[in-house]
């Protein structure tokens, strides 16, 4: 049973003089993307130097001829892989289950027997749109046809519920609460941030946070109608960049309080030390050229972590490959880091833009990199010439980086910007 804990009183000093460690630790990671079915799979595929996993559509039924970062398995096989029998479970939930299962690197018995309040925070933008599309298509052909039950998983919240059920029923954890953040492409970043604050305020001892999203006609056509999809593999931060590629997948971090970490035998991956959220308040789908929102999020994350810009050893950018995003983000980095931008990179040319899952997948990989101080899989693929206005060149992997603090950012529609900072232990 979850313990009921009120928020920590902030106006009064702790009773004992010992400083209270309210740090938030990463004790498990899980990711699935076009590059692989576990976080380590994804990292090692990139380490081997595979140029990209972006390829023509294979599983999604669409007339559009656009390259995407698809997870290499049909929904039917994914369901068999995680042993979910219902045909009414969305691909989004199945991908989420794969990543969540991997990230839960803590004995369920330990969680339940110690009454550690455990929360699940999932970022998601499309929900079960893949199933909704099946219903819409069928009901169009025959107004009384189609299985209306397919719409049960339409909302992001119901996808989260399916993953939460799996955590409780199949994996034997007990959730105090689970919820869904839907701030478009920054959803996973905001979910991780909320989870961290719940741990820091003493409401939870353990939280699984990140995001999941699957490819569907709806988003593919949506981005296509905005004319921001590259017909080739995208080129983040390149002068000739010409749009983004959509991808799919899921990524989660298992976050824990210092109390939980103290009682563990295994060392945590790293610490989540900073987070920042801002709204650009400028345009629904575009960023200011100077990147005001991204800059505010990065600055807020630095402030929260207490680190100086010079302490950041690597930045995992949003770097979608669109003309607007990459310029705005470059300008924001130049401003926040006062011209001395640390090595930075984008994973979008390898696995595509996985929308609400992107920060979940990428944060999981950043935690892996910090754990082993391994920068060997972090280079940006498909880059040749810098953007003339900024002259910035993303990390090419030639020299290893001593990873101490990594900043990772995601920005979404409606001006939602998020930035996280992970620190090596």
């Amino acid at each position: 049973m979850a313990r009921m804990v009120g928020a920590k009183r902030i106006d009064s000093k702790p009773v004992d003089s010992k400083a209270v460690d309210d740090g938030v630790y990463v004790i498990g990671v899980g990711a699935v993307s076009a590059a692989g079915f576990t976080a380590e799979d994804c990292a090692s595929a990139m380490r081997k130097g595979t140029r990209t996993f972006i390829a023509p559509l294979q599983y999604l039924d669409s007339v559009l001829e656009l390259p995407v970062g698809e997870v290499r398995m049909s929904s039917k096989c994914l369901a068999e892989y995680v042993r979910v029998s219902s045909s009414r479970v969305s691909r989004t939930a199945l991908l989420g289950i794969i990543a969540a299962r991997e990230a839960m690197q803590l004995n369920p018995w330990y969680q339940t027997s110690h009454n550690i309040p455990f929360g699940f925070f999932s970022g998601n933008s499309v929900g079960g749109m893949d199933l909704s599309e099946v219903f819409w298509q069928a009901s169009r052909e025959n107004p009384r046809g189609g299985d209306v039950g397919m719409l049960r998983m339409h909302t992001p919240g119901s996808v989260t519920d399916a993953i939460a059920d799996y955590l409780e029923e199949e994996l034997d954890y007990e959730l105090a609460l689970s919820t869904t953040v839907s701030t478009a492409c920054s959803a996973a970043g905001n979910a991780i941030m909320m989870a961290a604050r719940m741990i820091q305020s003493g409401q939870l001892g353990l939280a699984l946070a990140g995001g999941t999203d699957s490819l569907c006609k709806f988003t593919l056509n949506g981005f296509n109608s905005l004319r921001i999809l590259d017909k080739d593999v995208c080129r983040p931060f390149d002068a000739g960049r010409n749009g983004l590629n959509l991808g799919e997948g899921a990524g989660y971090l298992l976050l824990a309080s210092s109390y939980v970490v103290k009682n563990m035998t295994r060392a945590p991956y790293c610490k989540l030390t900073g987070w920042g959220n801002a709204n650009e308040a400028y345009h629904q789908t575009a960023s200011t050229p100077e990147g005001i929102g991204p800059g505010l999020a990065m600055t807020a994350a630095l402030e929260k972590s207490g680190l100086a810009p010079s302490d950041i050893s690597f930045i995992n950018t949003h770097g979608t490959g669109t003309s607007v995003n990459d310029l705005a983000e470059s300008n924001a980095m130049l401003r926040v880091f006062d011209g001395k931008v640390p090595p930075f990179s984008s994973m979008k040319s390898v696995i595509g833009h996985t929308l609400g899952a992107s920060e979940g997948i990428e944060a999981a990989l950043m935690c892996l990199a910090l754990k082993d101080n391994d920068s060997s899989f972090l280079s940006t693929r498909n880059f040749s010439n810098p953007i003339p206005e900024t002259g910035l060149r993303p990390y090419d992997g030639a020299e290893p980086i001593d990873l101490k603090n990594i900043m990772s950012s995601a920005y979404g529609f409606s001006g939602n910007c998020s930035s996280l900072i992970f620190s090596r232990l």
Partner: protein
């Protein structure tokens, strides 16, 4: 999904202001729809008004109305929650996609279909660059929003809002899915509305306080017995009582809370969402008689 999580703010959390838009019974179209207000005084840009969908206009209006008279620099965050979001635009884009065989689509409904459109628009219209997020967890989203707002800042305040919309086809789908069952094989009719609140940890006894929020399944009545005499006398308000007027929808608690905030004179009120499967319950209070009633 909420287990046995109960949130009792240790420091008072005040609901400083609340604004809602909701239907007043069944309209001419046979469903519970909001009589839209004259948006002009709040949403001044005519071009923008034309581009905005109906729910986006309603909820931006309610959000901005709540923030009226509050300096933007005091607003530490904008947090919204919704059951099914801007579903009319979502279906419009999905229909276009099928009609035109994925070719030459108008991006506007797609852009407005994302769940965070409302929180983004309020930020845009008020130029508030602070914390901004959106929860999509049915009726439970309100708990996330309140937890988020409480831990966000000790100073200033946070705008919290819930919104959902209905149309004839959405009402049909909701009834086919049997979303709001009650009694024996009966269904509540689908409705719509939006409710916004400005909450803050700074306030006075003149303000309404949020004492506790948890799942409606939690035996709160038992817990209440251990509280003071006043709490025992708490009036009970159920969301189902409002269904004949506003219909049933995921974020209806935001509307009902807003109505209660406007009507609580003194003492405690226990508000229960007995309509939604994941409904919440909360306890609100006013410590000092406001004398308005």
């Amino acid at each position: 999904m909420i287990g046995k999580f109960k949130f009792v703010p240790e420091q008072p959390l005040y609901i400083r202001k609340a604004v809602h838009l909701c239907p007043d019974g069944i309209g001419e179209n046979g469903i519970h729809t909001v009589q839209e207000p004259d948006y002009k005084e709040i949403l001044t840009d005519a071009n923008l008004r034309r581009r905005m969908g109906r729910l986006l206009k309603m909820s931006s209006y309610a959000g901005l109305k709540t923030l009226e008279g509050i300096p933007s620099e005091d607003v530490r965050g904008i947090i919204t929650y919704t059951g099914v979001g801007l579903i009319v635009d979502t279906i419009k884009f999905a229909d276009n996609l099928l009609d035109n065989n994925e070719d030459m689509l108008n991006p506007s409904p797609f852009m407005q279909s994302t769940f965070n459109t409302v929180s983004g628009y309020i930020a845009l219209l008020k130029q508030i660059r602070a914390y901004n997020t959106t929860y999509v967890q049915g009726a439970e989203g309100l708990l996330s929003a309140i937890l988020d707002a409480y831990t966000l800042s000790e100073t200033g305040g946070v705008l919290i809002g819930g919104f959902d919309e209905v149309s004839e086809s959405i009402a049909g789908i909701k009834s086919a899915l049997q979303l709001y069952p009650h009694g024996k094989k009966k269904l509540w009719p689908a409705g719509e509305g939006c409710g916004f609140m400005y909450v803050s940890r700074e306030g006075t006894d003149d303000d309404v306080r949020l004492e506790c929020i948890t799942s409606a399944k939690y035996p709160l009545a038992k817990w209440l017995r251990y509280r003071s005499e006043d709490v025992k006398k708490a009036g009970v308000i159920k969301c189902s009582e409002f269904v004949p007027r506003i219909g049933a929808f995921e974020s209806m608690m935001s509307v009902v809370l807003s109505i209660c905030v406007g009507h609580i004179d003194y003492g405690y009120v226990h508000v229960i969402d007995d309509v939604n499967a994941g409904g919440l319950q909360c306890l609100i209070s006013r410590k000092k008689q406001c004398g308005r009633f």
